[in-house]
Symmetry: C2
């Protein structure tokens, strides 16, 4: 038997072609393409197809895929009626698990395929993938209206994924710069090798559960505070600090108490998270375009980052992707408890790429345990206990 | 880096005190107690408390736990209304994922506990556990009525878990022998070390996701045809065979084509699955009590088992727990597509025992990958592809 390593740290759980991290150099690639180049030139739709297929699409392929996503944006009114029964206090991540699981009943696939058949029937796999990714945004935006007592705003088919999401969420024509920033945020969150939620995809997918079940399981795992949700904490922290002048005292006190600075540091990167650099530039671009008329939290964030990097940079701790995404989402009018749902919406692309990759050479996950319990003993009747 | 072992076969993923299998000798123990003794003398309620707490309860503890389960059987009418929106063709396992995920909104716990706090707050953990196990049966039984266009039957609090489930499911006063058989089936399915769905519990739970999310993830994983669902296949096989005389031809042909005989063989056991022995005796008891007036499938099953064991026994392949549970459930009036939902209902006890055990010394699962993809390459504009 192999050695027991808690959390399977460093234990390879799969072979994968999808993404790669060089933590020492701060590099992240999807299918070999650096994340910086994708953020600069690609779209969420194109990046999703790259993650799924392994190659950048040509114009005709991208156009067909975008049309498929548009066609699958609407959801049946039964799902809206289900959401109307949910308590408005319900967390968006609980709603999302519920709604995605229900898609398995409303949009079933062919569930009788065997292992080999599923892996080989790329058409089936592609159709299921489109059905899910397209509807993630609709479900997240619907809940924002329904939980506040309003009717949801139906999707449009003349807008990109990011534009349509902002339109459904806010009810306004999307601001082009904000839509571009959201598009980049979706690209940056679409994939990140084998983290806990992606590992859930592998474990659930290995029993040949439906892709709806697989994504439900991944959302469940992402919902935990140790995984998703750090960008929400960043925004809460910035509000707690309040003004740039108070940043130094806050950071000093937290570090003295051995508490984390939210949005700083990442298990994989020993340099600044490459995604944080991209978001920092976008944040500056947005501030410039607005002539300084932005959320005061931006100035607080800059102060926190500067002070944190002075203190923590020498230890390899820098701002990560969560540090800026929260304030950018706030600027789009998205409440902080929805941030992890947006994360799930973007990550559904990477999750489904891993689902598809594994199907071709699937083996059920059945690790073992180190049994540390009681030796065999005899049952005693309740009167004798 | 450790060696890559597909499916993490043989790789220890946790230390656990809960259950143990000796596959060579055909032994299964829960907290040290042989499954045969629990099946003979215990109840699902008592076994659940044993799995959770580690020791058999005294009379007062068992009585309090049973009362807590009774008090948590009802579900809010909003959940019934949600189910009324679901298509009647929806699979019970998809319904169950949806409904259990929704419990996170209807019955939220304290979601702000840190790692250490959750592990130490046994009261919180116990309350959440009761809320889920108690309602699993209600949800499964509700769906049987709602999908057929009828109002669900509210739970009663004067019946045991097994009796109340049969009452809610069938609408009749439960037959005592069938209720006892169901009770034993629930005990036998309550726990079975680290299989794929229990591993999902560990992975999802490791991010400190809520127990509703954790159980949703486990149900998702169990729903795959490589994991749950074999007992449904057994019943379909028996119907296909039709009469005991045709069993020999069927088994011979399947084996010649290198096809499996459903319900025969188990990855862990090289002898007869100890749970199958128990169910075989109960099946005989039921046939005797009925004076032979039982489903003709019982005779087909006996013929299939006899012939299969002649041919496969020398290779260590014998009947497993799924072989008899399907026909017993059929005799209770439970349709075959509900069998895996009953499995989930019973297994929720073991899943939550593992959730609780892990919280005390939690570490997020983040295994690694063997990257087999493309080297770094540059983005090419779409016009140049």
């Amino acid at each position: 038997m192999s050695e027991y390593l808690p959390g399977l740290a460093g234990v390879p759980a799969t072979k994968s072609n999808i993404s790669d991290i060089d933590g020492a150099q701060g590099l992240l690639t999807y299918r070999g393409y650096p994340i910086e180049e994708l953020a600069l030139s690609s779209s969420f739709e194109e990046t999703t197809l790259l993650l799924l297929d392994g190659e950048l699409p040509d114009a005709a392929e991208l156009s067909e895929f975008s049309a498929q996503l548009c066609a699958n944006r609407p959801v049946k009114f039964h799902i809206r009626e289900m959401m109307r029964q949910m308590p408005g206090t319900g967390h968006p991540m609980d709603m999302l698990q519920t709604a995605v699981a229900s898609l398995g009943m409303f949009y079933p696939g062919n569930e009788c395929l065997t292992n080999a058949e599923v892996g080989e029937d790329l058409n089936y796999v592609h159709n299921m993938t489109v059905k899910i990714i397209a509807r993630m945004g609709t479900l997240v935006a619907m809940w924002e209206h329904i939980r506040n007592g309003y009717d949801p705003i139906p999707p449009r088919s003349d807008l990109s994924y990011a534009e349509n999401f902002l339109y459904m969420f806010t009810g306004r024509e999307p601001d082009p710069l904000l839509a571009r920033i959201l598009d980049v945020c979706l690209i940056l969150h679409a994939e990140h090798t084998i983290n806990a939620s992606t590992f859930s995809v592998l474990v659930s997918g290995s029993t040949l559960a439906s892709p709806y079940s697989v994504i439900t399981s991944a959302i469940a795992t992402l919902s935990g505070p140790l995984h998703g949700g750090a960008n929400q904490k960043v925004v809460e922290m910035l509000h707690e600090i309040g003004t740039p002048e108070r940043a130094e005292e806050y950071v000093t006190r937290r570090l003295a108490n051995k508490e984390v600075i939210w949005g700083m540091g990442h298990r994989e990167y020993k340099t600044k998270d490459p995604r944080a650099n991209i978001l920092q530039r976008l944040t500056e671009e947005l501030m410039e375009a607005r002539g300084g008329d932005v959320n005061p939290m931006f100035e607080v964030a800059k102060a926190v980052e500067r002070i944190s990097e002075e203190r923590l940079g020498p230890k390899g701790v820098y701002a990560n992707v969560d540090f800026y995404s929260g304030i950018l989402y706030t600027e789009m009018g998205i409440p902080s408890d929805q941030f992890t749902a947006l994360f799930a919406m973007a990550r559904s692309a990477g999750w489904l790429a891993h689902w598809r990759e594994q199907l071709v050479d699937n083996r059920i996950f059945r690790p073992t345990q180190v049994y540390t319990g009681r030796e065999r003993r005899s049952y005693t009747p309740i009167e004798q206990r």
